[in-house]
Every structure is written in structure tokens, then in C-alpha cells.
């Protein structure tokens, strides 16, 4: 009570408030706690941070907030698009996680972070925090593409870069495409969520089309100078299995779209597609902007590489939204960062020296229904950067059925880890 009162007074005094109405701050949704970590975003980063906070220190009150009651994961959705998997297999809930670790899980939108009062604001009331973890994922920079807008463009040219309706829309467009049709995929400049993801999607769409629509083709317009991950292996796979079907064009940045014609423009050329998979350039999720934790680049959140504390004291950012040196934006990285933030945030809260971070990232990509390849990396903090450990990691010599099997096992464990 007294906090909301105090913050109301601050509001009256005209401190930074991020456009909150005083009414939304008037009541607390949960009783005040002096030792509470609020985690916003129940994805691969946030759910893991919440769980490991409780595993390491059961005296901390942990509240996990996500706008959705169930989480639909992105990895393996390229298989959904190719008709090899059901989206239901990608969906997990939070009941077991909440019960086992005594985490308060709240299905609600966080509309704002009131950094002055140290509380998150939801439509049902405010929740105070001692420390806050944000793992809110990504948003799209549609404003950098002429003719594109965040509302209508994805309905016509799905990105399918957040899982759910978008995945199913691209799936149904692909299945309904006329015989001999053209799929156009646009890949933004790195960094973006899941560097090998677009190329895995090309492979799996090609696998699907080769069977159902053999005269069709896929034109890949990549803003990057070359395939952004596992280039050698993807090239080999396309050459071996999808020759004549995949038309890969590097350094082709889509700068304009003409929605009515389902066409994209690179400045040099306008290309029409029967299906257009427009993956826009990306940035941190809206909540990161609202909370004031985005850096000077106006895109991502700089953080301490040891504690993941952002430029706003007490707010830690992990997952796709943060800048973690050489680590790619992946579910695996978010999982790893969730564990590190838990350990090192507790160290700070409990007056201990933070631990030296040790991260792992392994990303699997399928090239057809059965075979996959992984790229592996270990990461350590060097100076104020997170760097790749050069002695470790790298690519296998080829894609294999064994890695296809192990990829499925990895994903099974990832979903279990975050939901139990």
C-alpha cells in the first residue's frame, strides 16, 4: 500500500513513468514482498531463470509472468511447415513448473515497468520486485521496409518467426500453392533470432515441395553476404537434394513490398511470389523499449556479461532481447543465460562474488525429414565481452540421421526443462 502511495506521489512530482495512469498503480496484484524476483517472459530464457532461481535459493519469492497460458516454441516449427510435425507437440504449459518449484505463474500482459517504484504493471494491478528479469523475445522492424506494416503484412506475407498462427498460415499457404509456383523468402541482415533457422526452413520447404509440387521453386533473397550459419553444409544439402529448386541469392536486401501483388523489391529487382515468407529485421520486444533497457543502437539491450544486468539497475535482460557477445540468439542460448542469470543474480542479492559464466549453445538444423547437423559453441567472458572458446565447438563433417535423432532428443529435454 505504502509503495503505491509513494509511487503515486512520485508520479505527481513528475518523475519518469512511462505513461502509466495512477489507477493502474493504485493496487498491488500480489502482496508486497521484500525478496522477490519477477521474471517477465515464460519462454526459453524466462522459464529457466525462474526455475533455477528457486533451485538455488528457495528463500526467494519468484513470480513468472507471460501473456499466454501456454507457450508455443519456435524450434522444430520448420518441420510443422513441412507437414512433419504437429504444432501441439511444440506447446507446453506452466502447471508442473509452478507446482514443483513453487513459482507464482501469472498469465497476464505486463504493460509497463515502473523502474522508479520497482514494480511491473499489469491490467490487474502492480507487482513489486527486488530484481526483475526480462526475457521478452523479439519484435520486428517493419518500419525499415517500404509498404510494410506490422498488422497487415504478416497476414499476407507471413514471417512465421514467432510460433503459432503465423506458422500455420505459412504451412497452409505452402500446401495450397499452385503447381509450379514460386516461394520467395526474405532473410534480414544478422543479428536475428536463430541464425540457421531460415536456411533450415529453405531445406524443409524444399523437401516438402519436392514431393508435392516438384516444378515449384524457392527464391531466397538473403540480405547477408552469405548463408549466415552452417553455410558449407546447407550448400552441400541443397546441391545434393534440391538442385534446381533452391535459387539462393546473397546480398539481396528487400527494401519494399507491394502487398497487393505479393511482390518484394530489392532496389535492383521486383520479384513476385505465390508464397512470400518475409522475415523482417528484428529488435528487442516492446517491453524492453518501455522499460528503457534498449541500447544506443535502438535495437537490442546491452547487459553486463556476468550478471545480465542492463543499463537500468535491478533489471536483468536475457534471451533474444539482450546482447551477449558472440552468442547467437537461440533457444539454447536463452536457456544457458537463464541459468547464468539465476546464479549470478543470487550472488549479487546474497552478497557473494558472481561466478564466471560458462555458456553452451548447440543449434540443430534438419536438411530433410530425417537428417540434421549441429553447430556447437562454448562461450566464456573475456574482458567485458562474451567470446567463443576457439578450442571447442564447430560443425560436424556432414548431416546425419544420428543427429536427426539427437536433435529431437535435445528438443524434448529443452521443453521438459522449461516446463517441469
Amino acid at each position: 500500500m505504502s509503495t503505491s502511495r509513494r509511487s503515486f506521489l512520485r508520479s505527481a512530482a513528475g518523475l519518469a513513468l512511462g505513461g502509466l495512469s495512477w489507477r493502474s498503480r493504485a493496487e498491488n496484484l500480489l502482496p508486497r514482498s521484500e525478496r522477490r524476483v519477477v521474471v517477465v517472459g515464460g519462454g526459453f530464457g524466462g522459464a529457466i531463470a525462474a526455475k533455477y532461481l528457486r533451485l538455488h535459493d528457495p528463500s526467494v519469492d519468484v513470480v513468472l509472468i507471460d501473456r499466454k497460458t501456454t507457450y508455443i516454441a519456435c524450434p522444430f516449427t520448420n518441420r510443422v511447415i513441412a507437414g512433419l510435425r504437429d504444432l501441439a507437440e511444440n506447446t507446453v504449459g506452466y502447471d508442473e513448473l509452478a507446482a514443483r518449484h513453487q513459482i507464482t505463474v501469472l498469465p497476464t500482459e505486463v504493460t509497463a515497468v515502473d523502474t522508479a517504484a520497482k514494480q511491473v504493471v499489469t491490467p490487474g494491478g502492480a507487482i513489486n520486485y527486488t530484481r526483475l528479469v526480462l526475457s521478452p523475445g523479439i519484435d520486428f522492424r517493419y518500419d525499415e521496409i517500404d509498404g510494410a506494416d506490422p498488422a497487415r503484412t504478416p497476414e499476407i506475407m507471413p514471417h512465421a518467426w514467432q510460433a503459432g498462427e503465423q506458422t500455420l498460415l505459412l504451412r497452409s499457404q505452402l500446401a495450397a500453392m499452385r503447381s509450379g509456383g514460386t516461394v520467395v523468402m526474405s532473410i534480414p541482415l544478422a543479428p536475428f533470432r536463430c541464425p540457421p533457422g531460415p536456411y533450415e526452413r529453405v531445406s524443409l520447404m524444399a523437401w516438402y515441395l519436392k514431393r508435392t509440387n516438384p516444378k515449384s521453386k524457392i527464391i531466397v533473397l538473403d540480405a547477408n553476404p552469405d548463408i549466415a550459419a552452417k553455410a558449407r553444409l546447407f550448400r552441400a544439402a541443397w546441391q545434393q537434394m534440391y538442385k534446381g529448386m533452391v535459387d539462393y541469392r546473397p546480398a539481396q536486401k528487400v527494401t519494399r513490398v507491394i502487398l497487393e501483388r505479393r511482390a518484394v523489391d530489392t532496389g535492383a529487382e521486383t520479384i513476385r511470389g505465390d508464397v512470400v515468407n518475409l522475415i523482417p529485421p528484428q529488435k528487442a520486444a516492446p517491453l524492453a523499449f518501455q522499460a528503457g533497457v534498449v541500447g544506443d543502437d535502438g535495437k537490442w539491450c546491452p547487459v553486463s556479461q556476468i550478471t545480465f544486468e542492463s543499463r537500468v539497475p535491478g533489471i536483468h535482460v536475457i534471451g533474444d532481447s539482450c546482447i551477449a557477445g558472440a552468442m547467437p540468439k537461440s533457444a539454447f542460448s536463452a536457456n544457458s543465460q537463464g541459468k547464468v542469470v539465476a546464479l549470478n543474480m543470487l550472488a549479487v542479492m546474497n552478497g557473494r562474488e558472481p561466478d564466471a559464466p560458462a555458456h553452451v549453445n548447440v543449434c540443430y538444423s534438419y536438411v530433410n525429414d530425417r537428417e540434421a547437423m549441429s553447430v556447437a559453441g562454448l562461450y566464456r567472458v573475456l574482458g567485458d565481452n562474451t567470446v567463443f572458446v576457439p578450442q571447442a565447438g564447430g560443425l560436424p563433417t556432414s548431416y546425419t540421421e544420428l543427429e536427426g535423432i539427437q536433435a529431437a532428443s535435445w528438443f524434448n529435454n529443452m521443453l521438459r526443462e522449461m516446463s517441469s
Partner: protein, 197 residues
């Protein structure tokens, strides 16, 4: 301040080949928890192809990591990962993971195969894979060995094939046991261990 000096040490470690032991390095929990994305929280794998490692002995975990690193044992990903740790990190991780419970997999197995596997096990394998594969005890070689009972079936089948194809080297004494296996015994043994609680 302290963090800074640690970073400098790390810088030295990263620049020199082979990652020498660091004065200050990640804690056992820090090192070991990152394995969970594939092996499950604290090594309790949800399977089916990544093995349960929580509750295995520290010696077996460290020996496995050393073998992966040196290429003595085949792997798709473990060799690439193991190269990034100092060898004494293997012991830290081994100790941390050994202190976790071995959570046996709950999975479907073929009862007829499992029954056949049990008979073979008792004759050839119980000597080292004691208590029906729940414990390990090699009185002669004193080598560390794994818990087999409750391990994931898919992982066991892959591993049996590696032994049979001579891709994974036999520890002393196990090759003789394998030489006596008849066609189909390996699969039966895998089902037997996988069916055990």
C-alpha cells in the same frame, strides 16, 4: 575488481592452447547446469537419445569426457564440447553430477526381449554391471563404469551398435562378454536395462 582479474586470467587461458587450469574458474554448478539443455535438469534426461548422466559416478563421467575429447570414443557432439573444458573441469562436473539422483527413464519396452536380456545379463554382465545394472563394480580392472538400468532405450541401442561395430572401444573384460553374444542378444539386453526401474 575481482571479476576483472578473473577475466584477465581467462584471457590468458583462452589465448594459450589447451585451456590450462584457472586459479578462478566457473563453479561446478555453473559448468554442469549448461549440460541440462540436452541431458535434462541436473542430468535427468527426458530422453530418448541423450543419456541420463545425473547420478552416474564421477569417475565414469570424467573418463567419458576424456575419451570424447581424445576421440577414443565416438560422438556426434560431445567431442566438440569436451574440447572446450580443462581436464580438471571434468572432475568438477563429474562430482556435481554424481551427487544428483539417477532418475530412471519411464518408457515402453518389449517384455519378451527384456526377459531374454535378463538371462544373458545374469550370465555375462552381472559380474561388473552389478545389481542388474544398477551399480557398477569391476573388481579386477577397477575401471569406472556406468549405471545401465533405467537408461534410455534409444541411447542404449545406439551405444550397443557402437560397441558391436568396434567404433567404441571395449573396456578390459567386456569384449569377452560381447564375443559370446548371439544374434539379437544386444537388442534384448538393451530392452532389459531400459525396462528396469
Amino acid at each position: 575488481m575481482k571479476t576483472r582479474s578473473r577475466c584477465l586470467l581467462l584471457a590468458a587461458a583462452l589465448l594459450s592452447p589447451g585451456l590450462p587450469a584457472l586459479a578462478e574458474r566457473p563453479s561446478p554448478a555453473m559448468l554442469s547446469e549448461s549440460c541440462g539443455a540436452c541431458h535434462g535438469t541436473r542430468g535427468a534426461s527426458a530422453g530418448p537419445a541423450t543419456p541420463i548422466i545425473g547420478g552416474q559416478s564421477a569417475g565414469y563421467i570424467a573418463a567419458s569426457l576424456n575419451a570424447f575429447r581424445d576421440g577414443r570414443r565416438p560422438s556426434s557432439v560431445m567431442g566438440r564440447l569436451a574440447k572446450g573444458f580443462a581436464r580438471d573441469d571434468y572432475v568438477l562436473m563429474g562430482n556435481f553430477l554424481a551427487a544428483q539422483p539417477f532418475v530412471a527413464a519411464r518408457q515402453a519396452t518389449d517384455p519378451a526381449l527384456a526377459a531374454r536380456g535378463r538371462n544373458v545379463h545374469e550370465v555375462l554382465c552381472e559380474r561388473c554391471h552389478a545389481d542388474r545394472g544398477r551399480r557398477f563394480e569391476d573388481r579386477e580392472a577397477k575401471a569406472p563404469g556406468p549405471i545401465l538400468s533405467g537408461q534410455w532405450l534409444q541411447y542404449l541401442l545406439i551405444t550397443f551398435n557402437e560397441f558391436i561395430a568396434k567404433e567404441r572401444p571395449f573396456p578390459a573384460g567386456m569384449d569377452e562378454a560381447f564375443r559370446q553374444l548371439k544374434r539379437g542378444d544386444a537388442e534384448a539386453l538393451a530392452h532389459y536395462y531400459a525396462s528396469r526401474p
